[in-house]
């Protein structure tokens, strides 16, 4: 149908021969007789178009052209993020104060429940800081994932009206969450200091850790943006997926410690421990905890040479929920008998996940570039 062997009766404007253009009734195919343009007489329309440098309108731009266009839109991405951020809070009476208030309230709830009502520290020396750090870092990824999954639907009018690389939209949404995360980090620093953690040079490691997490979030954001645009059921499934991921990522408990507690599921299925530990959310959480919490660094199994006796005392105490004396609180450090995941491995995995997510997410999103406006 699309490749006519004979030139189509092209319905050109009459030009120099107005008498030639004329009528037929409604419903007749290709009604109206065409005037052939002289240079069209011998070639199909498609060839004519390509010869004049035209491109199919529904064609995807090449990767590098696309990336170039995206780079040209960097100001748009930032301006869009800022504008959305402001719009998000204009309806609320307290306005942008909510940006700080939300993480504070979050932390307050966790303190109330896990700090006062149900102290289940499971051998973690500074459980409150451990918990709040985990919640904030996980929230960053979670919010990116959820907000980008609706970015295409929310911006449909913009997509239809203006030409720009669509990847700018999920990128902007991740930037919004990054700003939110920066404020949450300020709150986090106050909480962590209040729990007695010292300020050390290790704190600087928060910056590369969050940078890697942001790259990872951009990747999954691009991924979620396409899924959310094309699979309507995705938004129904998302809360469930995120909750499962939260529980598997060691936000509320230490994956490593659970593996050390005798008779636990993880202790009898040791291979599950590293699998859970290297999942991206757990990796970034661990990296941030290690950066800002000296208690985490000191109690990490493997940070002291293996000592079966000290470890055993620690394991028994934790298993029975007994309170360890201050001198023994860090004794999980003596528990790494053999090969285990060290902090350096976490950095490798953090880099790997970020790179993988970015590449896969970008290509996944880019492949459907011309389809986002359909809705």
């Amino acid at each position: 149908m699309s490749d006519p062997k004979v030139p189509l009766p092209t319905l050109l404007s009459g030009g120099d021969d107005p008498g030639a253009v004329r009528i037929a009734g409604p419903g007749q195919l290709q009604a109206g007789v065409a005037v052939m343009s002289p240079d069209l007489a011998s070639e199909p329309l498609g060839d004519y178009a390509l010869r004049h440098g035209l491109r199919p309108s529904a064609e995807r731009p090449p990767v590098f052209t696309y990336l170039g266009e995206l780079w040209r839109r960097r100001h748009f991405i930032l301006a869009f993020a800022t504008a959305r951020n402001i719009a998000m809070y204009t309806e609320a009476k307290l306005g942008q104060i909510w940006q700080v208030l939300t993480p504070l309230l979050n932390a307050g709830v966790y303190f109330l429940i896990f700090g006062l009502l149900v102290p289940i520290n499971r051998g973690i020396p500074n459980y409150l800081a451990f918990l709040v750090t985990g919640v904030f870092v996980f929230n960053f990824t979670q919010r990116c994932f959820i907000s980008t999954s609706s970015v295409v639907t929310e911006s449909l009018p913009l997509i239809r009206a203006l030409q720009f690389p669509r990847a700018a939209l999920p990128l902007a949404y991740v930037m919004i969450e990054l700003e939110q995360m920066a404020l949450a980090m300020a709150v986090l620093v106050v909480i962590v200091l209040a729990t007695g953690e010292p300020v050390t040079w290790y704190w600087l490691l928060v910056i590369p850790a969050l940078l890697l997490q942001t790259i990872f979030n951009i990747g999954i954001g691009l991924f979620a943006a396409r899924l959310g645009a094309q699979v309507n059921d995705f938004s129904q499934l998302l809360p469930f997926l995120m909750r499962t991921w939260l529980y598997l990522s060691g936000v509320l408990f230490s994956i490593q410690n659970l593996g050390l507690i005798k008779n636990s599921f993880l202790a009898s299925h040791q291979w599950v421990v590293p699998v859970l530990q290297v999942n991206p959310a757990a990796v970034y959480i661990t990296l941030v905890r290690n950066a800002i919490m000296a208690t985490e660094r000191l109690s990490a199994p493997g940070s002291r040479p293996y000592d079966a006796a000290k470890c055993s005392v620690w394991q028994d105490a934790v298993r029975h929920g007994a309170n360890l004396p201050a001198s023994q609180q860090y004794d999980s450090a003596y528990c790494a008998a053999s090969a285990h995941v060290t902090i350096l491995h976490f950095w490798y995995f953090g880099i790997g996940w970020a790179a993988l997510a970015l590449v896969v997410g970008f290509f996944f999103f880019w492949r459907a570039e011309t389809r986002y406006g359909r809705g």
Binding site: V21, Q28, A161
Partner: protein, 267 residues
């Protein structure tokens, strides 16, 4: 420049039976007893071919549901062709009636964002800002969220933003319909400027007088096909009015201009 080569557009409507989301249907589908509802195909565009040159302003007229908007969306690359193809120089921008940019943001931010999205630098956007606001004529409303705008004001601002940049192809789908007389004159002039700068403009409008005034060519569509097209704009418009049973327009025999001002659209 736009080349439309034997374009066919088919919409697939899933589960037109109306019980798509019901639990029983989903269960049957999951068990493989039933395929994805009843797929209904709507053949919206049936084999259209034409060439639009640089500097053309083409009016697309026809009844509701004749495929005008679908044609524009296909040119904009928003709909995949079932068969045939659409070729354009550079991206085509589509302005529709309900194309609110970002409703909860102020007009001011929408202007800046629109400019940046079209690929302008910050300086260019700042330089264009004043002229866009003046062109749109929304006045003090520029500091209010766009959702507070009347539909006319919204479309004025959108058109002003889109028109701030040179477009190879600009597609206007009834976007000017809600503007007042003053704005029509301005947008008319701006379309002529775009044409003079070698752009191609498509205009879908039910206000036929607007088509007569703005366009140098017209395409009359019906049921996804071209009934008539050519640069005898007045002749084709008159035949369209005749075919839809409207009252013939009285025209000056020499210039073809309307002798009395028609109110609203004829169709």
């Amino acid at each position: 420049m736009v080349v439309v080569d034997d374009l066919n557009i088919v919409y697939k409507v899933y589960g037109s039976g109306g019980d798509r989301g019901s639990a029983a249907t989903v269960l049957l589908r999951a068990l493989g007893r039933k395929t994805r509802g009843n797929i209904r195909e709507v053949h919206a565009i049936r084999g259209i071919s034409f060439i639009a040159y640089r500097g053309d302003a083409i009016g697309v007229i026809g009844r509701n549901g004749s495929g005008k908007s679908t044609l524009l969306r296909a040119i904009a690359g928003l709909l995949p062709p079932e068969a045939g193809n659409v070729y354009t120089t550079g991206g085509a921008s589509l302005l529709g009636v309900n194309a609110a940019l970002l409703d909860d943001l102020t007009g001011e931010r929408n202007v800046v964002l629109g400019c940046l999205a079209m690929g302008m630098t910050k300086q260019e956007a700042r330089a264009k800002f004043q002229s866009i606001v003046e062109f749109s004529g929304v006045g003090d409303f520029i500091n209010l969220p766009m959702k507070t705008y009347s539909s006319g004001m919204g479309s004025r601002l959108r058109f002003a933003i889109a028109a701030a940049k040179h477009h190879e192809v600009l597609l206007i789908d009834e976007a000017l319909a809600t503007g007042d007389a003053e704005f029509r004159v301005r947008s008319h002039n701006r379309i002529n400027e775009l044409r003079a700068a070698a752009g191609t403009v498509f205009l879908v409008a039910h206000n036929l007088e607007e088509v007569e005034l703005t366009c140098n060519r017209v395409i009359w569509m019906d049921r996804g096909q071209i009934v008539m097209q050519g640069d005898d704009v007045i002749g084709i418009v008159d035949k369209y009015i005749d075919a839809s049973g409207g009252i013939p327009v009285e025209r000056d025999p020499v210039t073809g201009k309307r002798l009395h001002r028609a109110v609203g659209g004829e169709s």
